[in-house]
């Protein structure tokens, strides 16, 4: 199986073709530097994203949040749903945990702003 993707390593945006056999990337072509190779190998097997969004607090205010590190790309919409269900109480500060272990990813959702 082959997969086409656009490298995000720099503005070149190389069009990469990755060949995948039994869930393992065997070859990458189209890249002009090593970053393209690394990106295709990770993106094809275990794509990850940092998810950011907002959460409505118990007092009605809105606060911005993020997953502390990146989480599997397949969980993006589940994490966004979890943001919409949470109702944390004030005060919250940058780095405070708003949702622990979101969607079983092992990653916490933390506040990215301060609300006294």
């Amino acid at each position: 199986m082959t997969r086409q993707l656009t490298c995000i390593g720099c503005p070149m945006g190389c069009q990469l073709t990755a060949t995948i056999e039994n869930g393992v990337v065997t070859t990458v072509t189209g890249n002009t530097c090593k970053r393209g190779d690394d990106y295709a190998r990770k993106e094809c097997v275990a794509p990850m994203r940092t998810i950011t969004g907002t959460v409505r607090m118990a007092d009605g205010r809105v606060i911005s949040v993020r997953t502390r590190t990146d989480v599997p790309k397949a969980k993006m919409f589940d994490v966004a749903d979890a943001f919409n269900k949470a109702r944390p109480a004030a005060p919250l500060h940058i780095g405070d945990v708003v949702i622990a272990d979101v969607c079983g990813t092992g990653v916490d959702v933390v506040a990215t702003a301060n609300r006294e």
Binding site: I8, P11, T54, R66, I94, T112, A113
Partner: protein, 419 residues
């Protein structure tokens, strides 16, 4: 009249970094004047990650990046006014200011840093035909509604323009449950960062329609649909290519304009290409003691460069108040052959730092090209570039030692790859 050594107009990333740098340079009497209700400027609504890679070596969200600078300003006890607007600056550096705390007052400043930022190009500047219904927002307005106020403007969205704010909002509204039907871009390439095209559009199968624009807007009261059409090489719509897309929201992400009404009222000379003040290597404007930095000077794509540039403006302002630098030989900087402009527009070949970073944008994408700096027909420096795009600001360091004694102009050019 209230007096202050340094007045900083705007408490966004540029104003904050300028204030911190001015205080570090030894200036005590500083006042930041901010129109909004919080420091941090536009970063407060930029809740996505990707800020601070150059400055802090990690990917922060906008509010996190801003807070690091706000904390420094608080720690240094630099005074600031919120909800306070500068109405006018005159040529004697008197600021007319109004706010709930201050009332209408005038402030005499010894030096001023202009850090007002930019605003979005509105629908009225685009000449799109059709009705004038509700449901049309600039991408930044939608970003504010969603991220700060907690409202989703609509559920069926078309975005005109592939600037980064539009791309970021395509992802944001999709994750909030809206359907983004298409992003239309009139140019044959996107002005947005590659990473945003992949992670905001491709990840969600949102089509990016290049060489396409909105030619009609339908709907009475509220927007009901838009008509898209392909455009030719001269950006004229091609008859017969129209398609109607039902939607309840149209977002415009079609460019940012430096906000220089105050600069004009003070009599500061502006650059016709950047829309910002003409500045020297110390970011001084044409009015002595007035400096400019950030998006009011020229529109940036990375806040890290805004912070760095604003630091230079703050240090220069402090230096102006504490011990004026003596003027030396002025060398003009020019962009030609693909280099649209330069910031700064001139440098002082005697008083400048050992290295000055000149920033500019190119007019179109280039592959395998090089950037060159020339003093007449003498090549000062050549930097090969695998890729150049209008969406990415270029940085070109110029060394004081490299500038010939008889040089009055340095010209920056793109050297295209041989065919």
């Amino acid at each position: 009249m209230k007096k202050v050594q340094l007045a900083i107009v705007g408490g966004g990333p540029a104003g904050l970094a300028a204030a911190i740098a001015a205080r570090e340079a030894g200036l005590q009497d500083i006042l930041i004047i901010e129109r909004g209700e919080a420091l941090g400027g536009i970063l407060g609504q930029c809740i996505h990650a990707g800020f601070g890679l150059h400055t802090f070596g990690q990917e922060l969200t906008g509010p996190e990046y801003a807070q690091r600078f706000i904390d420094r300003v608080e720690d240094m006890k630099i005074p600031y006014l919120l909800g306070t607007m500068v109405l006018d600056i005159n040529e004697n550096k008197v600021l007319t200011v109004t706010g709930r705390e201050t009332g209408l007052i005038q402030i005499q400043a010894e030096a001023i840093v202009l850090a007002m930022g930019c605003r979005e190009r509105p629908r009225g500047a685009l000449n799109i035909p059709g009705t004038r219904p509700a449901g049309i927002y600039s991408a930044g307005t939608a970003q504010r509604l969603v991220n700060l106020e907690g409202y989703l403007p609509g559920r069926d969205v078309v975005i005109l323009g592939s600037g980064d704010i539009g791309l970021i909002m395509a992802r944001r509204m999709t994750l909030e449950g809206a359907k983004v039907h298409a992003v239309a871009e009139v140019m044959p390439y996107s002005g947005g960062l590659k990473r945003n095209i992949v992670q905001c559009l491709d990840d969600f199968n949102i089509p990016l329609l290049l060489s396409t624009t909105v030619v009609d807007i339908q709907g009475q009261g509220h927007i009901e649909s838009v008509t898209l059409a392909k455009v030719d090489g001269r950006r004229k719509p091609i008859p017969g290519t129209e398609q109607v897309i039902p939607c309840d929201t149209l977002l415009l992400s079609v460019g940012l304009l430096p906000e220089n009404e105050l600069s004009l009222s003070a009599g500061v000379a502006l650059d016709g290409v950047t829309g910002g003040p003409v500045v020297g290597d110390d970011l001084s404007t044409s009015l002595p003691g007035v400096f400019a930095c950030g998006n009011v000077l020229h529109v940036h794509d990375l806040v890290d460069f805004v912070s760095e540039e604003a630091g230079r403006a703050g240090r220069s302002a402090a230096e102006y108040v504490l011990h004026r630098r003596s003027a030396g030989r002025t060398v003009a900087l020019r962009g030609k052959n693909g280099v649209r402009y330069t910031v700064p527009q001139h440098i002082d070949a005697d008083a400048m730092a050992d290295t000055v970073t000149v920033r500019f944008r190119v007019g179109q994408p280039y592959r395998g090209a090089a950037l060159c700096a020339w003093a007449g027909d003498k090549l000062l420096r050549r930097i090969p570039k695998r890729i150049l795009t209008p969406g990415e600001m270029e940085s070109f360091p110029i060394r004081k030692a490299d500038i010939p004694a008889d040089c009055d102009t340095i010209t920056f050019t793109v050297e295209e790859a041989a065919q």
